[in-house]
């Protein structure tokens, strides 16, 4: 009751994702992983994870394989640049929206 009362009359924010909205919409290119080059994938054990460490948006999971949350990935390309084996490439977002449009056309 107390906190709710205070919250009515002040700028009191609780935490959650997506304060900036669906920041995935900012992207012009998205990271694509080639698992055959990815060190943890090849070894099938925890290793490297440099992409996870340097992601400013915390959208790369520390998993085998690492996965990108496209809802929020802004497409900065740091993961691609820092990957020691160049397993990640940045691919034009337009290509994916073209594919999505094609898929939709096929459905209709």
């Amino acid at each position: 009751m107390g906190t709710r009362n205070y919250r009515r009359k002040t700028s009191h924010s609780e935490n959650g994702p997506g304060d900036g909205g669906r920041t995935g919409s900012w992207r012009v290119e998205r990271p694509v992983l080639d698992q055959s080059l990815c060190i943890p994938c090849k070894r099938n054990k925890e290793a490297c994870f440099i992409c996870w460490l340097f992601c400013p948006e915390i959208v790369i999971s520390r998993t085998i394989p690492p996965k990108v949350d496209l809802e929020y990935c802004k497409g900065c390309g740091i993961c691609a640049e820092e990957c020691p084996t160049k397993a990640i490439t940045m691919v034009d977002e337009a290509k994916f929206s073209e594919e999505d449009t094609e898929k939709k056309k096929k459905k209709d």
């Binding site: 107390g2 205070y6 919250r7 009515r8 009359k9 700028s11 009191h12 924010s13 609780e14 935490n15």
Partner: protein, 399 residues
């Protein structure tokens, strides 16, 4: 128990009795003895508090804002340019709805430099959303500090307790020192609605948009305008809480008065002198003299300046022929702030219901210019004959 002490010590004793536990202060004349005394209490172990000698007034209030946000009962004090330096934080404290208590030992503002008493410092802060109380003697100082902590915590709005520099801060008067047990009964420990902590994390006072927005639970949260509206609305309802504070205080300490105004020989008066602070007591000498001359004059001391007790003031002045407002400050470019507010209250409540009293504004005591009782009496007498001027008239000017 009655003691004889100066006004600054009266304030310090009030803070000690209220068990404030975070005090931050920067020295400025004539506030210094207040905070020095508090540092003595803390170092001697008579107060269990963190005393922080900050490096500026801006930081003093910053420390209080942060400490209060985390759940401490906080206090600071300042004067004049110190208060002006804090101004950004003054606005912040009220917007953040923090129950900070601050004593303002009224002093003239620069430029040019002047360390003596007038009220320009606190008057210039009247729009900030703080509650403002003015004291006329040492009993009022210590009692107002005690009431202030209770009131601030009740309504979550910070309070300035103002008293005249040197005239009250440095002079000695007898007053009753309330007992600790009674103060503890009046003022329980601070239990905020919310205290910042890792147990219940939140992000406080970040950028707040012009419009409303959904929160993480999917509910629509108030926007900036609503937050500001609630400050205004709850400032207005503070008038009711102030009356409650007065009643509670009377119940425990056995003394009380009107929460908003302090009338003296007003009931049958045709003319009422109005003022803030110690001048209202000096005026009593003049009023008693004029009464002997057959002039029916009284005094209304304004104790609550913000929120402005417009209804109470207008009511008390109903049917009077003239109101003479003596002020140690003004809203430059127009007139005395109290005179303006008072006129608007009269207009709001009494217009159309008969003749409004005239309002004569006198400006005096600026920069500590001596207020000679003879000059006061003369001015008051003249004003009761007829309105002296439309523009504020300055008493004691030596052009």
């Amino acid at each position: 128990m009655h003691i004889i002490e100066n006004g600054n010590v009266a304030a310090a004793l009030g803070v000690k009795l209220c068990r404030a536990n975070v005090i931050a202060a920067y020295p400025i004349t004539p506030q210094t003895p207040l905070t020095e005394r508090l540092s003595e209490y803390v170092e001697l172990g008579q107060m269990k508090a963190e005393y922080i000698p900050v490096e500026s007034e801006h930081s003093a209030l910053a420390v209080c804002i942060a400490a209060s946000s985390a759940g401490a009962r906080t206090f600071t004090a300042t004067s004049a340019n110190g208060l002006l330096y804090m101004h950004e934080q003054v606005q912040w404290a009220s917007g953040a709805r923090l129950p900070i208590v601050m004593c303002v030992v009224n002093r003239a503002v620069g430029a040019p430099w002047n360390v003596w008493n007038d009220q320009q410092d606190s008057i210039s802060q009247r729009d900030t959303g703080w509650i403002q109380i003015y004291c006329s003697d040492h009993q009022q100082i210590i009692d107002s500090v005690i009431k202030a902590f209770w009131l601030a915590e009740k309504v979550s709005i910070p309070i300035m307790v103002c008293y005249d520099g040197y005239i009250l801060s440095h002079t000695y008067m007898p007053f009753d020192l309330p007992e600790q047990e009674k103060v503890d009964a009046f003022l329980p420990p601070f239990k905020p609605d919310y205290a910042l902590s890792p147990d219940e994390p939140a992000n406080l006072n970040t950028v707040t948009l012009p419009d409303v927005r959904t929160d993480v639970k999917g509910e629509l949260a108030h926007g900036y305008m609503e937050i500001r509206y609630l400050l205004q609305e709850e400032l207005r309802t503070t008038l009711t809480a102030a009356a409650e504070a007065e009643k509670r205080f009377a119940g425990i300490f056995g003394r009380s008065g009107d929460p908003y105004i302090e009338p003296y020989r007003c009931d049958d008066a045709d003319y009422v002198a109005v003022g803030l602070g110690s001048i209202t007591y000096q005026l009593r000498v003049c009023v008693d003299l004029l009464r002997k001359e057959g002039i029916k004059v009284g005094i209304m001391g304004v104790r609550f300046y913000r929120p402005f007790p417009d209804a109470a003031i207008a009511n008390a002045l109903k049917g009077k022929k003239g109101v003479i407002v003596f002020e140690k400050a003004l809203s430059y470019g127009y007139e005395g702030a109290l005179a303006s507010d008072l006129k608007s209250a009269l207009y709001e409540h009494l217009a159309g219901a008969g003749t409004l009293p005239f309002v004569q504004n006198f400006i005096l005591g600026i920069g500590g210019r001596e207020i000679r009782t003879d000059d006061l009496t003369q001015a008051l007498r003249a004003a009761t004959k007829s309105r002296v001027s439309k523009e504020p008239a300055w008493i004691g000017l030596k052009l």
